[in-house]
């Protein structure tokens, strides 16, 4: 599992969802969160931060810049490309998820999710990225 001190970037245009993700992550043991309301803000936060984020959890459908486009931007950046990235989706959009897998997403979570299901996804992700 990721270290409890991992710095997590949570990206979602709905503040309720950001709170739900943070609540679940807190229950898992994390405490260092930064929020962004869409992919544009997410990128600005990720790229300008002096501290490195250990994990990004991003919604899929967002205005200005979708989670997928945000992911592609992260994977194209030399410094940030290996940042663990999880996408959150409200429904099973198969073609989109495949595109995300091809773009290098580490895992995805389908809403609704419990703390336990998120924990499982985080453990899977950590195992895959080898951190």
């Amino acid at each position: 599992m990721f270290d409890p001190k991992t710095k997590i970037l949570i990206v979602d245009d709905m503040s309720t969802m950001r709170k739900l993700v943070m609540k679940a992550c807190r229950e898992i043991g994390f405490s260092d969160f930064t929020e962004a309301a869409d992919g544009v803000q997410g990128w600005q936060t990720l790229s300008s931060s002096e501290q490195s984020f250990g994990l990004v959890i991003s919604d899929w459908n967002m205005p200005n810049c979708t989670g997928l486009d945000f992911l592609k931007r992260v994977r194209a950046d030399g410094r940030l490309k290996n940042t663990p990235f999880i996408l959150v989706t409200a429904e099973s959009e198969g073609a989109q998820v495949k595109e995300a897998i091809m773009a290098g997403v580490n895992n995805y979570v389908v809403k609704p999710f419990t703390t336990d299901s998120l924990r499982t996804k985080l453990e899977e992700t950590h195992a895959r990225v080898g951190k």
Partner: protein, 279 residues
């Protein structure tokens, strides 16, 4: 570069098998199927249209993929197999592994009649609402008996999350309707925050709940009945004595729910499409 051309059709992931499905493709299938297993598609289909050769070396990776899918509750099928290939598969005792879809499979379901309590249509919403509230709001719901709203029906509604239903067969609306205090209780259950009035953020929570509920129900309805429901963005209405009404005045189905946070309901209104939208 993928060795297999894949497409998405509704909730199916379709994998086109090459005309000569030989040993050289077995390793590629084995490797690429690891990624396919991660996909959310509930049904994975091997399309054998135009396939002339299926080498025995491909049996093992296909069998493994089939088993892994079924162990995770997903479906696996093969379609468009020629008679020759089908007989070969059967002769090797692999009909169960390949699950070929033979002629005479089930026809698509008819659209729900407006104002009729079609359980095929209602049950996915009942299940989805119960599941979302259990998972996201730690609230166990007790569904009441669905009924048709009429002029005498009076229900206290302070906030509605509304989504338009749009498919090739019908259109309509679905509303997630709460008395104000009940949704404040739900919000407190979800996030541990107590509020005395509805704020913009709390309105967003109604929209998000409905988004998740609709997404899950839509997936089931499209997969099982081919309703071809499209993604939609929810809107939120807030006020006193709100009421949902369709222009054609078809009866509206009410799905009532009770819980320790209070009572609320879902309203569903549909009417057939007069001009079919092309898919």
């Amino acid at each position: 570069m993928s060795q297999f051309k894949c497409t998405q059709e509704k909730e199916k992931h379709i994998i086109k098998i090459p005309a000569s499905f030989t040993a050289e493709f077995a390793a590629a299938f084995q490797g690429e199927s690891q990624a396919w297993l991660l996909l959310p598609a509930e049904v994975h289909v091997l399309d054998f249209d135009g396939v002339l050769v299926v080498d025995q070396a491909t049996y093992a990776p296909v069998l493994q993929f089939s088993r892994l899918l079924r162990s995770s509750g997903k479906q696996f099928r093969s379609i468009n197999m020629s008679k020759t290939i089908l007989n070969q598969i059967k002769a090797h005792g692999l009909k169960d592994a390949f699950q070929p879809l033979e002629p005479g499979s089930a026809p698509a379901a008819a659209a729900p009649a407006p104002g009729k309590m079609d359980v095929r249509f209602i049950n996915p919403f009942l299940n989805s609402v119960a599941s979302v509230f259990k998972t996201q709001a730690q609230t166990t719901l007790r569904p009441g008996k669905p009924f048709l709203r009429n002029e005498k029906t009076t229900i206290d509604i302070g906030i509605i999350g509304l989504i338009s239903l749009n498919s090739t067969q019908f259109k309509g609306n679905i509303g997630l309707c709460f008395p104000t205090q009940v949704f404040l209780n739900v919000y407190e259950r979800m996030l541990g925050e107590k509020h005395s009035e509805i704020t913009q953020e709390i309105e967003d929570a109604v929209a998000e709940l409905l988004n998740i509920i609709y997404g899950a129900a839509k997936t089931e309805l499209n997969k099982d009945f081919g309703f071809d429901l499209q993604p939609a963005l929810p809107t939120v209405l807030r006020g006193e004595k709100l009421e949902m009404r369709m222009q054609n005045r078809n009866p509206i189905i009410v799905l009532p729910f009770e819980a320790d946070v209070g009572a609320f309901h879902v309203e569903i209104a549909t009417e057939p499409m007069t001009h079919k939208r092309s898919a």
